[in-house]
Symmetry: C2
Subunit: 434 residues, 2 copies
Amino acid sequence: MTTRRQFNRSVLLTAGAALLRPREDASAIGVDGRRLNAHLQELAHYGRNPQGGVSRVAYSEADVKAREYAVKLMQEAQLKVGIDAAGNIVGARDGTEPGRKALVIGSHIDSVPEGGNYDGDVGSMAAIEVACTLSEKKVALRHPLEVIIFQNEEGGTVGSRAIASGLTDNDLTLVSNSRKSIREGIRFIGGNPDSLSGAVRRKGDIAAYLELHIEQGGVLFKEKIDIGVVEGIVGVYWWDVVVEGFANHAGTTRMQDRRDALLAASRYVDAVNRIVRKTPGSQVGTVGKMQASPGAYNVVPGKVQTSLDLRDLDADKVRTIFAEIQREVREIETATGTKFDFKSTNSTPPAPTDERIRSAVDEAAKQLGLKAKRMASGAGHDAQEIAHIAPVGMIFIPSQDGISHSPREFSKPEDIVNGGNVLLQTLLKLDEMF
Amino acid sequence: MTTRRQFNRSVLLTAGAALLRPREDASAIGVDGRRLNAHLQELAHYGRNPQGGVSRVAYSEADVKAREYAVKLMQEAQLKVGIDAAGNIVGARDGTEPGRKALVIGSHIDSVPEGGNYDGDVGSMAAIEVACTLSEKKVALRHPLEVIIFQNEEGGTVGSRAIASGLTDNDLTLVSNSRKSIREGIRFIGGNPDSLSGAVRRKGDIAAYLELHIEQGGVLFKEKIDIGVVEGIVGVYWWDVVVEGFANHAGTTRMQDRRDALLAASRYVDAVNRIVRKTPGSQVGTVGKMQASPGAYNVVPGKVQTSLDLRDLDADKVRTIFAEIQREVREIETATGTKFDFKSTNSTPPAPTDERIRSAVDEAAKQLGLKAKRMASGAGHDAQEIAHIAPVGMIFIPSQDGISHSPREFSKPEDIVNGGNVLLQTLLKLDEMF
């Protein structure tokens, strides 16, 4: 705890970065790919699991140790490092033009339980590497630069929410994967849950936010594309679904007399799949939960608890799909003598990225000779929170076999270097653009 | 325990029934309907639940008390009462023609947890009432008569199996709903698990077996029919079904890249229903279990555990339906990139009733002015065990709304009296016939 306290922002904010090279030379520079991959490997020690990958859930001892490591790297990159009230690690570098707002790059280093070594880690280590490269190559930016390692992304983008919209009292009482409440967790990593307003930034406080991340899906990998230019983070909508029929004896109840909740639920699962797939586009729909009650060989199920997850960049499309699902459900109810109930449990709107930043990423990839593709992010990211207060952009690199949240998560070292260089070159373009 | 011990069969078998009336007058006699319904109401006290119905699982204190009550009624009906080694209560009455094997009538008085007051109870009280009526009306039968109250029907027709095929060591170690093993339970109700061979009867030992039971389904009730003439107890076939797909992120995995075990399982449920229903007949097919793993909103299910229950009077028809389900499952596997595994966990062959007995029930109902219908029993009964060693028949009466295994189980007093009279008149016909 005492080690972390010494990184207090106000104490360290005095050190400055030397600005020695003209910016126009910068398009030729690149990150130190060996160093970037070495840092990723070192980071993988914190919370490492015997079977591979890490369990480095937010507010765990492993999380704290990994954060200390990140702070050390940031200091080596000549950043002025502090912990904000919400527990985010903020490394700052001055810009040449007074009054400009900061360009922010970053990601997270907490993991899901039994997670991998790339989700969040790649973007975090690459952001530090970019700052380090700028410092080593003596490249000055017009804007101040901040590298932020957001806390507890996996537990609900907690750190970035604390910055973009603030945390509620209810948020603070939620228990995280470490078994600490968010409030206890923030204290544990050196933040101050009693003065969270100090962490909040307002619209206009950040010039632009840019995040490199692994895709966590299989599109780039399958299509052999180097760089994903993210069009936005999809809206995520969840429902609890309960199907009520009538439990009855499987031997004595004729087929035509049944009100089988599982038959109805099964037709619903098929309908969701069919409706989501029939419209062109990258929208997804998932039924992930399904439990039949009473759940015996010889009882016609009287009740089923199931779910619905719909995602798309276009909230209207999700509404249309949901309405169509509802229409089919009414038909299923009539045909099976059952009743469906949908209860909304999560409704996170889409967070589109900024078209100027997308173009900058496109250009940076082109300039580096990399194949790029525009795509949506189906997973949530800190960028979706920052999108509330600033223009945001995201860069994806391929995930092998599309696997993520698993010890088998893997991105090739050369893809990581590509991502680091696109991050660097896009940042340089944003510095001109904003 | 001591009360029960005194009903040892060998001790009591000496008392005889007086045979005073010629058999040809007997077609005019009937059971005492008020007494029969009063006995049912008294029996309902043993194990009564506050919310109605009874929890009188085999080998419980309530079961023992109810058995003592049944023994008292049997003694009042002039039966010689004993407990066989398996714990079945056997009330015997002599016949007029030496060397004839016994006609057996009976049922069970144990219940499922939170069961009703009619399943088993109606047949048991009616069998005793028939014996009592024969005794009161001084009707002699050519055959000896036995009234048997089989123990633990609900736990797997244990008592009737002990008579028809014997119990295995494995059966005896199974733990019943009372939390006693079958072995402990048999001892608890006054049987002797160490000499079970004494309870076994061989083919030919029983002239015929006849059982009155509530339908436990809604056919007679819906079609306003008084009496079901049971064509047999359907074969019951169970499978554990496991569907393997691949768990993946619900946001980042494109619809076309998924191997969704729940989508596959849902199509399987629909296929089972469609295949079972498309062939004419009374066969039934049920998927009662369904659980998706890992079971989160945002994870494409990688595994589903489900089941299959198929029943029909014709084992070949079940085989054909199962084969057709397998064919569709192969198509579902291909379409969804999943793998199904079926493991047979129960395979009880159909137990047809004897055509001579069916005709006797038909005639008895006709003679009493009752509307009768031939039908299969979708539920298991003690009769299906006895069918291994003797010709069997079953008589059904209506269950209100088809509800059974529930405190809401109900059969009208007049239907119960009808059932008792059909049981009596059919028994008289069997006495002529066999």
